[in-house]
């Protein structure tokens, strides 16, 4: 009897619509965030993360309404990331019904923002998103740096030091994405996950690279993650969240079934 490891489907949303093709066979509108979120809830998702890729101010308002809609009908924790830059952005999302917000580049430009956010709303709702890329050459000791702009822009910040600093600043959770692995379907960067999970006491969500159910198991068992986040393996109907949980349970991981 103990805390279950979590599975978190991640949805990209643009202008209030789910993008990057969710392909459930029997869903009426695969772009409707409410329908998709409901489906994941029924499958047993432990949380849902929305990554807002909307570029315009008007589109961001649409996202707020979308969060309101989802939160009125889906009663599991919701996280919203993307474009969270000001205290006011956080307040707006929490009031709309989000439980947590994920902060990424705003923390890099102004680390104190994380402290302010935690003081204002509590650590429990501040997820710090870390996009890391390996920068060490072969034969060298492993080193990862933080990258922004979808992995295109380096910051020179050491990822492991950054994780420890963000914990000290009050972040309640870390969402760690390997930019090397993201989209490759070859599994998490387990070395990166191990390095970070062994350094911080707060929960770490592993992200980037999931291509099969064993990858989820490895993220928890080898990477030390408290939660695993995946998109495409669930969206394209390859596996349900339920199947993922059964696979994890079969290998001795405690899950909510």
């Amino acid at each position: 009897m103990s805390l279950a490891k979590r599975i978190i489907p991640c949805l990209d949303v643009d202008d209030g619509r789910v993008v990057k093709g969710v392909q459930f066979v029997d869903i009426r509108d695969a772009g409707d965030p409410v329908e998709v979120a409901k489906r994941y809830d029924e499958q047993g998702a432990d949380e849902i993360t929305f990554l807002d890729i909307t570029a315009t101010a008007h589109g961001r308002e649409t996202t707020v309404h979308m969060v309101e809609e989802v939160a009125s009908q889906v009663f599991i924790p919701l996280t919203v990331g993307g474009g969270i830059r000001k205290i006011e952005d956080i307040r707006t999302m929490l009031n709309a019904g989000a439980d947590k917000v994920a902060i990424n580049s705003a923390a890099i430009y102004n680390p104190e923002f994380v402290k302010e956010a935690c003081d204002a709303f509590g650590s429990q709702c501040i997820v710090l998103a870390i996009d890391a890329k390996k920068v060490s050459s072969q034969g060298e000791a492993n080193r990862w740096e933080i990258f922004t702009h979808g992995g295109r822009k380096e910051t020179g910040i050491d990822a492991l030091e950054w994780a420890e600093r963000m914990e000290a600043y009050g972040a309640g959770e870390l969402l760690v994405t390997s930019m090397d692995k993201d989209g490759t379907k070859s599994g998490f960067d387990l070395e990166l996950m191990q390095e970070i999970t062994s350094r911080v006491r707060i929960p770490v969500i592993a992200s980037g690279g999931v291509g099969n159910l064993q990858h989820l198991v490895d993220g928890v068992k080898l990477g030390g993650a408290e939660a695993v986040l995946a998109a495409s393996i669930f969206h394209f109907g390859e596996f349900t969240v339920q199947e993922a949980k059964e696979a994890m349970q079969a290998q001795g991981i405690e899950v909510r079934l």
Partner: protein
């Protein structure tokens, strides 16, 4: 038929929307859920939901600033009362959070931080889905299976003086009281508004409860 009024206490902290939406989702046509800062509405309500999140000190400060201390104390004495998360912790006498904070003293006992020094593998905050072991019967457990999982987010836990008030326990390194009941009060450390079907069932049970 008479309408039933359920007040969700708004003291300017936390996301009350999830709580009111979950209650509305399970309410029948005759039940009205109102998020309110008005002591009169709380006094008139048939039952009261007292949510909360964040830190104890800020929570007590917000209760004081909004004039909600007395209405909440009054409601906790006389009508079905559901405390959630920080809405459980501030019912106690004292919390060790923020270097010590006096709380509402409605249920005698203290709030202390988890000591996980013997469990380096466990994370803090205690965040995620954990089981609640029902240690006593209660009307609000109706149709909720033993050891069901609920969503938790917290780093402190309650220790009531009267152990008979404990009706649910959870384990994270140590076993701690996760649900207390005293007369018309049912107070839970987890977030039923975020706990899917079992959480919704708990709201349904609360809305049907007469406080006995």
């Amino acid at each position: 038929m008479d309408q039933k009024l359920v007040a969700v206490v708004d003291y300017g902290m936390g996301n009350l929307r999830s709580v009111s939406k979950a209650a509305e989702h399970m309410a029948n046509a005759r039940t009205k859920i109102i998020v309110t800062q008005d002591p009169q509405v709380i006094a008139d309500a048939d039952s009261v939901i007292f949510p909360g999140q964040g830190a104890a000190k800020a929570c007590m400060q917000a209760l004081t600033d909004t004039g909600m201390v007395e209405p909440v104390k009054q409601a906790a004495q006389e009508k079905p009362f559901l405390g959630i998360c920080m809405g459980l912790q501030v019912l106690m006498s004292h919390s060790a959070e923020n270097n010590g904070v006096d709380c509402l003293n409605i249920i005698k006992g203290n709030v202390t931080q988890f000591d996980l020094s013997a469990h380096p593998e466990l994370k803090m905050p205690h965040m995620g889905w954990n089981q609640i072991h029902q240690t006593q019967d209660h009307p609000l457990w109706h149709a909720i299976p033993q050891d069901s999982r609920f969503y938790f987010v917290h780093s402190f836990y309650v220790s009531p003086e009267d152990k008979n008030t404990i009706i649910g326990e959870t384990t994270h390194g140590q076993t701690f009281p996760s649900v207390l009941s005293a007369h018309n009060i049912f107070a839970i450390q987890a977030h039923p508004e975020k706990s899917a079907e079992h959480g919704l069932q708990l709201f349904k049970n609360f809305l049907e409860w007469d406080g006995h």
